[in-house]
């Protein structure tokens, strides 16, 4: 499995309140949530994002509220993968549970810039920065988590 797209780059401590502001949590509709994704940190995100694009950020991505609406909004907006130096733990867990691909890679998070074209190979954990012509190696998932993802998320893995 691979992801390939243009990068939307953010900094440290991107919280779930800016990923999907609480004023939109009166719905669980995926498309409607996606239409407000990243609104309070990057009002042009929704306009600019294309199917397959990749979010890259630094430390503690997804901190704050446990709202699963945050990874849902990101996934439904077309983002194929989120790469960060570190993730807040509930966001990390929620992403695995709903099948949004996420990778921890400090080296990639620091070097990749907004607008770079990036390819991710999930089998090897190799992230290729096509714009800069270099690669980075992400930590692979533990087997337990690979199993949840390969079965299509937590609930499918329980069947």
């Amino acid at each position: 499995m691979k992801a390939h797209g243009t990068v939307h780059k953010y900094g440290d401590n991107v919280d779930t309140d800016v990923i999907i502001p609480a004023r939109y949590l009166n719905t669980a509709d995926h498309k409607e949530l996606a239409s407000h994704c990243m609104e309070d940190i990057d009002k042009d995100f929704v306009k600019n994002v294309k199917e397959g694009d990749i979010i890259v950020a630094n430390m503690n991505f997804g901190c704050g509220s446990s709202r699963e609406h945050a990874p849902i909004a990101i996934k439904a907006s077309g983002i194929s993968c989120v790469i960060a130096s570190t993730f807040a733990r509930i966001f990390y867990r929620n992403s695995i549970n709903i099948g949004l691909a996420i990778l921890e890679c400090d080296e990639a998070a620091k070097d990749i810039e907004n607008g770079n074209e990036v390819e991710v190979d999930f089998d090897t954990g190799i992230i290729t920065n096509i714009t800069k012509g270099c690669t980075y190696k992400a930590e692979p998932f533990p087997e337990f988590i690979k199993d949840i993802i390969s079965k299509g998320g937590l609930l499918n893995s329980l069947k």
Binding site: D15, D17, N60, S65, S66, R67, E68, L155, L158
Partner: protein
């Protein structure tokens, strides 16, 4: 190798002799919690997966608190969906307008969580119940759906930071100041993926309300859970609320911690978190400039308990809030609300020019009941001051204790109290 308190609770619920840091386990749950914004997502997933029923109708709590009383038609529809689900599966602990409270104020008050128990909740502040010696952590809606169906959840066993508390808090310094002080010290990811375990002789000077407030904000340091060693104060609190037996776990003497931090409670000062991260702390005596405010919020799952109401009322008694300031007081539960009425606190708040609201999460997350316009500034006893948290992205939230919030409401600017 010895285990921490959190590790012992996880091992017990996984049916294992011992667990070690990093181990992935499946554990049995004593309580699964959701609210009116996270439960609809869980219910959709629960239905989509085709589960036939819930694992235990007594071990699920659904609390309508975030956008309730319903703020708009969509919020009303979400509450209706939860109500119908609770009816269909005969959920014992379903709390709606009239008997609800803010979930993390309500569940401890009702005795639904206690020492040694394991709880997940689709709300990040589920870590609050660690104050009672439970292992309790926030998860998402899919985990909640799986938990409701199977009574189990997967966990990666965390390492821990030990906080060794000594001394005694000074007058007008509370659990809120302690946790803001700690977050200021270790940062918003200072305990990422870890447990924060609180122990030491200083515990005996911390009330359950102080402990609930401290554990509540463990998530704001990135922690998986916050947990307090169980003592007589915990057991006295539980005795009034629950008649079941509890397992009490103490950390082993040779438990391994990633860090041990000593805190002398007598040195903690009144503390405020500046925008836009809880780690941006200053003590009130370090604030030299005049920071004028438009709104004060006293309430939330962090500070909506009776001791919070009492301290705010003590400061506001026979005073009036500053002209141009709006002060919104929100008791955490119906029981706290009624206590405020009976003890005359409601009258003090209203005479001081505050509004006194039914329990709701409301303004804390920018839902309703006190949204900020561009350029406005609030002092709030809530738990997050992220960009846009209480309204417009150009508004500001300063986090503080009920004492500092009440004193600031009177002064019209951020101030401590002597």
């Amino acid at each position: 190798m010895g285990m921490t308190m959190s590790q012992k609770i996880l091992a017990k619920h996984a049916g294992l002799e011992s667990v070690r840091e990093g181990q992935l386990i499946k554990a049995k749950l004593d309580m699964v919690l959701g609210n009116d914004i996270t439960s609809p997502v869980a219910i959709n997933e629960f239905n989509k997966a085709g589960f036939g029923g819930v694992f235990d109708k007594d071990k699920i709590s659904l609390v309508m608190d975030h956008f309730a009383p319903n703020k708009d038609i969509k919020a009303a529809t979400q509450c209706k969906q939860c109500r119908e689900f609770a009816g269909k599966y005969d959920i014992t602990n379903y709390y709606d307008v009239g008997d609800m409270g803010i979930e993390h104020a309500l569940l401890p008050e009702k005795g639904l969580i206690g020492p040694g128990e394991l709880c997940i909740g689709a709300d990040s502040h589920t870590c609050t119940y660690g104050a009672l010696g439970a292992f309790s952590t926030g998860v998402g809606s899919t985990d909640m759906a799986a938990g409701m169906a199977t009574g189990e959840a997967w966990f990666k066993v965390p390492s821990a930071i030990k906080f060794n508390l000594t001394g005694k808090l000074n007058k007008y310094v509370s659990g809120k100041d302690v946790i803001l002080h700690i977050i200021g010290m270790i940062g918003v990811d200072g305990a990422l993926y870890q447990s924060m375990e609180f122990t030491g002789e200083g515990l005996k000077s911390l009330s359950i309300d102080d402990r609930l407030c401290i554990a509540n904000m463990a998530i704001e340091a990135g922690a998986k859970n916050g947990i307090f060693e169980v003592d007589e104060i915990t057991m006295a609190y539980m005795k009034e609320r629950a008649d079941r037996d509890f397992d009490i776990f103490k950390a082993d003497d040779d438990a391994v911690y990633s860090k041990v931090i000593d805190i002398d409670l007598s040195t903690v000062k009144q503390t405020v978190s500046f925008p836009h991260l809880p780690e941006n702390t200053k003590t009130t005596d370090e604030i030299t400039e005049d920071i004028k405010i438009d709104q004060v919020v006293i309430g939330s799952c962090t500070n909506g308990r009776i001791s919070d109401m009492r301290i705010a009322a003590e400061i506001l008694k026979d005073k009036h809030i500053a002209k141009g300031v709006r002060c919104i007081v929100i008791p955490g539960t119906q029981k706290v609300y009624l206590q405020c009425v009976k003890e005359g606190l409601a009258e003090i708040f209203i005479n001081a020019g505050c509004v006194f609201s039914t329990p709701t999460c409301g303004p804390c997350l920018g839902g309703h009941m006190g949204i900020l316009a561009a350029g406005e500034r609030a002092v709030s006893t809530t738990n997050r001051n992220f960009v846009g948290r209480m309204g417009h992205i150009d508004s500001e939230v300063y986090l503080a204790s009920p004492a500092v919030a009440a004193a600031s409401a009177i002064a019209g600017k951020i101030t401590g109290i002597q």
